[in-house]
C-alpha cells in the first residue's frame, strides 16, 4: 500500500485494555473507577503497574494525573498530557501516547477516562443553566438566554438541517439506534443488554428535542476505561495480540469556531463536520481507503453524530447516510459493521474511549459481535468542534 509520509506508521500498539462496570450509579469516586480500569489494563497487557511511565488524560476528566499516579503508586512517571476538547480527544489521546513513546519521553503510556456521567456532572444537562453568565470566550450569552442549553438540542438542530438538505428521516436515524441496540444485546456488559428495540419502540420513545427522540440520545454512564500503549517492538514480547496503531489523525474545519459546542452552528455547513478533513488525513497516513476498513466504532453521542460520519469517513456519499444506515450495511454482516459493543447509544457513554477498547477487541477477535476476519479497525472520536480518529490493524499489514 502507498503510504504518505507517516513516521508513526506501525510504530506503536495498544497492548492492554481495562474497564469497570458501566452503570447508572457506580457508588464510587471517579478516582477509584480510574484506578480500577488502569490496574485492569496493566494486568491485561501483562505489564506491572509500576512500569507505567506516561499518562494521557482527557481535558474534561475530573481525575488529574497526579491523583491517579499517586493512587497507583507510580514511581517513574515521566510524561503526562491533557487532550481536548472533551469527546473529540480519545484517538488524539492515543496519538499523544504514540508521540511520547516515539520521542523517548515514555515507554508505557496509560490512556484513561473516568466519569460518573449519570450520578455526577451530567453532560446532558448542558451549559448556561445558571442565573447569569456567558462571556470569557464561552459565547454562551448568544445562546443561553433563549433556552438553548444542551448538546442534544444542538445536535437536533444539525439533524434538522440534514433533513432539510437531504431528506433524512427519523426512520433513517432509527436504524443507527437499532443497530447499536442489537449489538448491545450481544454484549452482556452493555447497559442496554436484554432490552431489544424495534422500529415501533424507537418511534414510540419520547420526543425530547424534535427531531431527536430519547433513543437518539446516548446513555449517561458511570464508569471508567483505560488502555496501555507501548512500542510495537515491546508489544511483541507481551501476551496479547497487539492492536497495531497504523495511523492517528486530528483535524478541524475552516472556520472551526470557539466555545464548547454551540458556536459550531455558525460554520458554513452544518452537515459536514471536522471528521471529513480528519478522515482524508487519516486515510492518507494509513495508505488506506474506506474499502479497507473491516469494522468501525463511530462516536455516537447521538444517532445523528454517527450518521454524519458514515458520510464524512467515505462509506457513502454526502447526504446518503440515512438510506445507507437503513440498508443494513452498518449491521453485523453488512459492508461496514459499526459500534459492535453497542456504542454510546446502548453500551454506555465513556466519552469516546470505550470505542477504542472495542476497536482493540475486534483486532483481537474477542468482540461479542465479532466481525469475522477483521484486520482493519477504525475508531473515531467526537464532534462537532474538532475531532480525531485512528486505524488499528491486526499485525503489520
Amino acid at each position: 500500500m502507498v503510504v504518505a509520509n507517516n513516521p508513526h506508521l506501525n510504530a506503536c500498539a495498544i497492548v492492554g485494555i481495562g474497564a469497570t462496570e458501566f452503570s447508572r450509579n457506580s457508588g464510587r469516586s471517579e478516582l477509584t473507577l480510574a484506578t480500577e480500569a488502569a490496574v485492569a489494563a496493566a494486568a491485561d497487557a501483562g505489564v506491572a503497574v509500576s512500569d507505567i511511565d506516561g499518562m494521557v488524560r482527557c481535558d474534561m476528566d475530573f481525575v488529574q494525573h497526579n491523583a491517579l499516579a499517586d493512587a497507583l503508586g507510580l514511581p517513574n512517571l515521566s510524561f503526562w498530557s491533557d487532550v481536548g476538547v472533551g469527546g473529540g480527544a480519545p484517538a488524539a489521546m492515543v496519538g499523544q501516547a504514540v508521540a511520547a513513546i516515539m520521542s523517548g519521553q515514555a515507554s508505557t503510556v496509560l490512556v484513561y477516562r473516568a466519569l460518573n456521567g449519570r450520578t455526577g456532572a451530567r453532560y446532558g444537562q448542558g451549559d448556561g443553566q445558571g442565573a447569569e453568565g456567558g462571556g470569557g470566550g464561552s459565547y454562551l450569552e448568544y445562546f443561553s438566554p433563549y433556552g438553548l442549553n444542551t448538546p442534544g438540542q444542538m445536535w437536533s438542530m444539525l439533524a434538522r438541517r440534514h433533513m432539510v438538505e437531504f431528506g433524512t428521516t427519523s426512520e433513517h436515524l432509527a436504524h443507527i439506534a437499532m443497530t447499536c441496540r442489537e449489538n448491545a444485546n450481544a454484549n452482556p456488559l452493555a447497559q442496554m443488554h436484554g432490552r431489544p428495540m424495534t422500529m415501533d419502540d424507537y418511534l414510540a420513545s419520547p420526543m425530547l428535542t424534535d427531531p431527536l427522540r430519547l433513543f437518539d440520545y446516548c446513555i449517561e454512564t458511570d464508569g471508567a476505561v483505560a488502555l496501555i500503549v507501548t512500542s510495537l517492538e515491546r508489544a511483541r514480547d507481551l501476551p496479547q495480540p497487539p492492536a497495531v496503531i497504523r495511523a492517528v489523525a486530528q483535524g478541524v474545519q475552516a472556520g472551526m469556531q470557539p466555545g464548547i459546542a454551540f458556536p459550531s452552528m455558525m460554520r458554513a455547513s452544518l452537515t459536514t463536520m471536522p471528521s471529513a478533513p480528519t478522515a482524508a488525513r487519516l486515510y492518507a497516513r494509513a495508505g488506506m481507503t474506506p474499502a479497507d476498513i473491516d469494522v468501525a466504532q463511530f462516536y455516537d453521542c447521538f444517532t445523528m453524530t454517527a450518521l454524519i460520519q458514515l458520510e464524512d469517513y467515505g462509506f457513502c456519499a454526502k447526504g446518503e447516510g440515512g438510506p445507507f444506515a437503513a440498508s443494513g450495511a452498518i449491521r453485523r454482516g453488512g459492508s461496514i459493521p459499526i459500534n459492535t459493543a453497542g456504542g454510546h447509544l446502548s453500551e454506555g457513554y465513556l466519552h469516546g474511549v470505550n470505542h477504542i477498547l472495542e476497536g482493540v477487541r475486534q483486532i483481537r477477535g474477542t468482540s461479542t459481535s465479532q466481525v469475522e476476519g477483521a484486520e482493519v479497525s477504525l475508531v473515531t472520536s467526537g464532534l462537532p468542534i474538532a475531532t480525531s480518529a485512528m486505524i488499528l490493524t491486526k499485525g503489520v499489514l
Binding site: 447569569e132 462571556g135 454562551l140 437536533s156 432539510v164 419520547p206 455558525m266 458554513a268 452544518l270
Partner: protein, 133 residues
C-alpha cells in the same frame, strides 16, 4: 419561578452586540479593512490580518436556517414546549442568531423572521418572530 438567564453584556469581544440591543438594533462585528463578517465576534480578521474591527447595525431580519422543538424541559425558567430557531441574518449570512418562540411552531427552512427587542432591567434581549405573523 426561577429567573431567566441574564447574559453577560460587558465582554470585550461581544459587548457591542448588547450595546446595540439596548438601542433596539442588531449589530454584527465586521473587519474594518476588508468587510469580512467576524462572527462569533473576535478582534482579528483571519481573511486580511487586520485587528481593526467595527460593530455595524444590520437590518433586524433574517430567515430560518434550522429549528427544533424542545419538549423536555431543562432550564426551570424556560417552560417546554418551545421552539428554537437558528436564523441567518439577511445582511450578514455568515452570522446566525438564535430565536426562542413559545410553544410548538411549525417552521420551514427559509421562512422570514424579524427581530423585536425585550427590555430587561440590566439588558435588552433581541427576540425573533415570524415575519408573517
Amino acid at each position: 419561578m426561577t429567573d431567566l438567564f441574564v447574559p453577560t453584556t460587558t465582554d470585550h469581544d461581544t459587548g457591542g452586540f448588547w450595546e446595540a440591543a439596548r438601542r433596539h438594533q442588531i449589530a454584527v462585528l465586521y473587519c474594518a479593512s476588508c468587510d469580512a463578517v467576524l462572527h462569533m465576534p473576535k478582534q482579528y480578521c483571519r481573511r486580511c490580518g487586520s485587528f481593526d474591527t467595527a460593530w455595524r447595525d444590520v437590518r433586524p431580519q433574517g430567515s430560518v436556517y434550522s429549528w427544533i422543538v424542545v419538549e423536555r424541559q431543562i432550564h426551570p425558567a424556560y417552560p417546554a414546549p418551545y421552539t428554537i430557531a437558528l436564523i441567518e441574518l439577511d445582511d450578514a449570512r455568515e452570522a446566525r442568531l438564535i430565536g426562542h418562540l413559545p410553544g410548538r411552531v411549525d417552521l420551514q427552512a427559509g421562512q422570514a423572521m424579524i427581530a423585536g427587542f425585550e427590555d430587561h432591567e440590566t439588558y435588552t434581549l433581541p427576540v425573533w418572530r415570524l415575519a408573517s405573523v
